[in-house]
Structures are given as structure tokens and as C-alpha cells.
């Protein structure tokens, strides 16, 4: 009886681990493609102040926080602040991003 319990327990544990392989293959991952985001910001990277702080404004209210976090991850060690009160501001409008130097009014 006890021996059977051990074997059944071990077999079901093994099946549980195997079940994950079958289910995980069909999962839909809604995560952001960070490689694509890195390519997206690569053109503006050389123009950012090294070690400085840059503002970020977006019209995407729903995903703004996540986009901000990913932008920060991509553009380290430049600090990205969710505010427009900076000399350099990354502006996102309908999915298009651009770097604006506000003090001089140059786009």
C-alpha cells in the first residue's frame, strides 16, 4: 500500500511537470518585444545626454507605464522621467517617437 503510494505520487509529480511542456507551447505571450523597442530607440540614443535626465510624454494612457519602464530599460544609464519639464523630451504620439530639445525649440 505504502509502496504504491510512493510510486503513484512520483508518477503524478512527473506527469505534472510534463503537462507544463504541453500547455506552455500554446500560450500566447502578450509581452513587449524588447528587441524591437531597442531598434526603435537606437537612432536617438547618440543624441541623449550621457548620464543626464530626459523627459517622456505619451498619448498612450493605457500602456504608458509599461512603455516608460521598457524605455528606461533600453536607454540606461540615461534617466527617463515621466514629465515634460526637461531640456530633452521623448515625445510619443500615435506610436511615433521623437526627441525634442525644448529649450531651443528645435525638433
Amino acid at each position: 500500500m505504502r509502496r504504491a503510494a510512493v510510486l503513484v505520487f512520483a508518477a503524478v509529480c512527473c506527469l505534472s511537470a510534463a503537462e507544463l511542456v504541453l500547455t506552455i507551447r500554446n500560450w500566447v505571450f502578450e509581452g513587449t518585444d524588447i528587441e524591437a523597442e531597442e531598434a526603435r530607440y537606437s537612432t536617438m540614443k547618440p543624441y541623449l545626454p550621457p548620464g543626464g535626465k530626459v523627459g517622456y510624454e505619451t498619448d498612450d494612457i493605457e500602456n504608458g507605464i509599461q512603455k516608460h519602464y521598457i524605455m528606461q530599460y533600453v536607454l540606461c544609464p540615461v534617466v527617463i522621467d515621466r514629465s515634460g519639464q526637461h531640456e530633452y523630451v521623448i515625445e510619443e504620439e500615435r506610436g511615433e517617437v521623437r526627441l525634442i530639445k525644448r529649450q531651443l525649440g528645435i525638433r
Binding site: 500500500m1 505504502r2 509502496r3 503510494a5 510512493v6 510510486l7 505520487f9 512520483a10 508518477a11 503524478v12 509529480c13 512527473c14 506527469l15 505534472s16 511537470a17 510534463a18 503537462e19 507544463l20 511542456v21 506552455i24 507551447r25 500560450w27 505571450f29 509581452g31 524588447i34 528587441e35 550621457p50 548620464g51 535626465k53 509599461q66 519602464y69 521598457i70 528606461q72 530599460y73 540606461c76 544609464p77 534617466v79 527617463i80 522621467d81 515621466r82 514629465s83
Partner: protein, 478 residues
């Protein structure tokens, strides 16, 4: 890629040399040495992450990374020579005899374990390939900090900028420093480095729990413990998400395993510095690890004073603290000089007052107790059969069989885990944050930190598979 592997080998070598220095001869059995090999990974990772932090904090990066690499190799050589001089021969190879004795029954369990391990590796690879930079917390906290610590070392303190409070810059740096160090060795930001670290922590966690149980309760029981951990699907997902909870779970199970070896090796005090070092590395991994370190120290003091005099407890605690000192000093220096105030401490002020009646209102609200208790039960399910009350069905069938020596270990682990669960409960109870959201975001991961250590205590308390098999053999002989 070769330099990346080299960096991991140097780190492991340092851990192994330190472990060899303090590992007593009484615990140099087959499983004892296997357990030492597993905890060496944690010690090596923790110590080298501290060294990397000091390289940044003291401004040694100005001299470049090459001197740091040379320093690590010299440290490895010095520790290896010292470990070689103090090495003592291995004792009885009980692992071989146990494996032989288990026969066909054991072979079936080993085969099931191998299948489960292979399935877990495949699941990890599939998940990690879909989220190569990890999930939300990985790229907004852990890997982001790693990028600050490696991209331009002279600008690493920018991660503490006020604008980045949302990325929890007060979190300890074991994991980011480990990943950043690998990237510095490799000379490139391979996502493979963070994935590899996550994978190794998961493997080390499972192996440590298995070997700890094998050492105390026999070969087959250790395999069962490993199977139970592998079947908990959520642990694999937390691991491949590159969060710090699985590294912390590994360090917790490694630390409590040291107490088991301590009891097994006839209270050899040399194991207490190892326990202290591992518990301190847990504190250097996540803020919850700080609570674990304190609870471990208190539990050790109480356990030792229970077994003897206060003087004996004080000596044990002193050995424990001695081992923890290098890492705890690093943590204190980090917290005092770089880390901003933790949000839970910031909330402590607002916890005294608030719309819901402040701290007294929350403490006296029975609904909060009910919600938190219900959530603890709900989130204790880690996926798979084990989570669905399977272990309790197993316990009913196999029964409880624990010797006096083993009971000490089980009581110690249970006390530490109960203390941790109590701390988590209290934080939820007092937090002014929205309770439902707070629990949804964190409780599953918090309980995952404790799950492997719970499994170790559980399988030591349950009647061992080896014992069940030997009973059956004795019946057959009759």
C-alpha cells in the same frame, strides 16, 4: 560566450573553495559532498556579487575591469590552496549503498525524476525564449539595475535617481551584480547571462533540497522531494521570468539545510558560519531576505538555548554572525550610502493614519484577516499535483516517521518558515496599499520563496521511501 562560462566557473570555484574550508569531515559523505557542491554555487555567486559591488562603490572601475578579473583569480587561487591544505578524506560513501539497495523500485523513481527534470528544462527553455529579457519585474527592476551597473560603471549611481523610485533602487544587489559581472566578463549584454543565472538558481534550488533530504532521510526520499519541487509548475515560471524570488528560495533552502547538516554532523560549529553566510546572501538578494536573516538568527539562538545552556546558544549565534559579517557589512554599506528608503518603511508613516482608520483600524478589521488568510491558502497552490493537496494524500498513505534528531531539523525549519509567513501576513495586514492588488502582485512569489524549504521539512517528517522499501523487503524475507 566562453568568457561568460569562465565568469561562472570563477564564481563557482570561489564558492567551492570557501565551502571546502568550512565543511566538516563528519559531513563529507556522498550526499554531504553533493550538498556542499550545491551550496557552493550560492556562496560563490553571493561573494562575487559583493566583490563586484565594492569594485563599483569604491571607484575601482577607473582602473578598468582587467585588474578586477585578476583580483578574482588571485582570490580563487588563495582560497583553493587554503582549502586543499585543510581538506580531509571523505567518509562512508552511503550514497552508493543506498542506490544499490533501492533496486528496481529506486530505478523507477530515478527514471521518473529524470523525465520530470527534462520536462522542466524544456518548459524553462520555451518560456525563456519567449521572454528573453524576463517578465515585468525583470526588465523594470533586476536587469535594469544590472544595466546601470555594467553599461557605464562611472554612471552606475544614476539608478538611485529620485525619478526612478518606481524601480525600487533600495532592493539589494546580489542578482543585478551577478548579471552585470557576467556581462562585464563577456564584454556584451547577452540575454543568455540572465537566463543562465535564472536556470542555475532553479537547478541549485531543486538539487539542494533533494540532497538535503537524501542526507537526512535517504536516497529515495531525496528523489521524491526533488520530484515534488519539479512538479510545482509555478516555480518554473517564476524562475524563467528572471525574478529574484527563486534565487531567494534557493538561498533559504540552502541556509536551513546547513542547520540539518549541523545536527547530522554532531553539532559541528564550522557549519554555522556557512549558514550565516548563506542567510546573509539571502538578505543581499531581496529585502525579504533581511527578515529571513533575523528570523534565522533568533530561531538558532532559541533552538540552541533549548538544547543546552545560554552560553552554548550565544556561541552558536556568534559563529553564525561571524560567517555573515562580510556580506552583512556590504548590505549595510549599500543601505546606508546608496539605497533610498524602502516603500514599506515609507508607508509605515502613513500606516499610522489613513482613510480606513489607520493602523488600529486595519488591525481590528476582521475582513482583512479573512482576505489575507484566504489568499495564503489560494496562493499556496503552485500548480501540479503537489499543490492540489497531493502531498497531504501522500502523507496519509506513507505516514509520519521522524527520529529525535530529524525532529530537531523539522522543528527548526518549521519555526523559520512560520516566522517568515507571519512577517508577510503582518505586512499585508498593516499596509495602507490596496489589499487585493498588493496580494495579487506579490503573494504567489512570496510563498514560492518558502516552498522548497517547506518541502524539505515535509519529506524529512514523512516516512521515507527507503524505509518503506526496506520494510517490504523484510516482509518478503519472512
Amino acid at each position: 560566450m566562453i568568457t561568460l562560462i569562465y565568469s561562472l566557473l570563477v564564481s563557482y570555484g570561489i564558492g567551492h573553495a570557501i565551502c571546502s574550508l568550512i565543511w566538516p569531515s563528519a559531513a563529507r559523505t556522498a550526499y554531504g559532498r553533493a550538498l556542499a557542491a550545491c551550496v557552493s554555487f550560492g556562496i560563490g555567486t553571493g561573494v562575487t556579487s559583493c566583490m563586484y559591488f565594492w569594485w563599483l562603490a569604491l571607484g575601482a572601475y577607473r582602473a578598468g575591469f582587467a585588474p578586477y578579473m585578476i583580483f578574482e583569480v588571485l582570490a580563487l587561487l588563495a582560497l583553493s590552496v587554503a582549502a586543499h591544505r585543510t581538506a580531509s578524506p571523505a567518509r562512508d560513501p552511503e550514497g552508493g549503498t543506498a542506490a544499490k539497495a533501492s533496486g528496481a523500485f529506486g530505478s523507477v523513481l530515478v527514471a521518473l525524476f529524470v523525465i520530470a527534470a527534462a520536462a522542466t528544462v524544456i518548459s524553462f527553455v520555451i518560456f525563456a525564449s519567449r521572454v528573453p529579457h524576463g517578465e515585468w519585474d525583470a526588465y523594470s527592476i533586476w536587469n535594469q539595475h544590472a544595466r546601470f551597473m555594467s553599461r557605464q560603471p562611472e554612471l552606475w549611481t544614476r539608478m538611485f535617481d529620485e525619478a526612478l523610485r518606481w524601480s525600487h533602487p533600495d532592493y539589494p544587489l546580489m542578482l543585478p551584480a551577478t548579471v552585470a559581472r557576467c556581462w562585464m566578463y563577456a564584454g556584451a549584454e547577452y540575454t543568455f547571462a540572465a537566463q543562465c543565472a535564472a536556470f542555475l538558481f532553479m537547478v541549485a534550488m531543486t538539487a539542494t533540497a533533494s540532497f538535503a533530504v537524501s542526507l537526512v532521510k535517504g536516497n529515495l526520499q531525496g528523489i521524491l522531494c526533488g520530484l515534488a519541487i519539479l512538479s510545482a509548475n509555478r516555480l518554473v515560471l517564476h524562475s524563467s521570468s528572471q525574478y529574484a524570488d527563486i534565487p531567494l528560495a534557493y538561498l533559504i533552502v540552502a541556509s536551513v539545510s546547513m542547520y540539518l547538516v549541523y545536527c547530522k554532523a554532531g553539532d559541528d560549529r564550522r557549519l554555522l558560519p556557512a549558514a550565516g553566510l548563506l542567510a546573509a546572501i539571502a538578505a543581499w538578494t531581496k529585502n525579504e531576505g533581511i527578515a529571513f536573516f533575523v528570523i534565522y538568527a533568533v530561531a538558532l539562538f532559541i533552538a540552541e538555548s533549548w538544547r543546552g545552556r545560554l552560553k552554548r546558544a550565544a556561541v552558536a549565534l556568534a559563529w553564525f554572525l561571524c560567517g555573515s559579517l562580510p556580506v552583512i557589512l556590504t548590505l549595510v554599506y549599500f543601505k546606508a550610502n546608496f539605497a533610498p528608503q524602502n516603500d514599506i518603511i515609507s508607508f509605515a508613516g502613513s500606516a499610522l493614519s489613513g482613510q480606513d482608520g489607520g493602523i488600529a483600524g486595519r488591525l481590528l478589521d476582521p475582513d482583512r484577516y479573512a482576505v489575507i488568510t484566504g489568499s495564503f491558502i489560494h496562493y499556496s497552490y503552485f500548480g501540479g499535483f503537489v499543490g492540489k493537496a497531493g502531498i497531504f494524500i501522500y502523507l496519509l498513505a506513507a505516514g509520519v516517521a521522524v527520529s529525535k534528531g530529524q525532529a530537531k531539523g523539522v522543528a527548526f525549519i518549521s519555526a523559520v518558515l512560520a516566522g517568515m509567513a507571519g512577517v508577510y501576513f503582518l505586512i499585508y495586514l498593516l499596509s495602507p496599499q490596496g489589499l487585493g492588488w498588493y496580494i495579487f502582485c506579490s503573494l504567489s512569489r512570496l510563498l514560492a520563496q518558502l516552498f522548497p524549504a517547506f518541502m524539505v521539512a515535509f519529506f524529512i517528517a514523512a516516512r521515507s521511501a527507503d524505509e518503506i522499501l526496506s520494510y517490504r523487503k523484510a516482509e518478503e524475507v519472512k
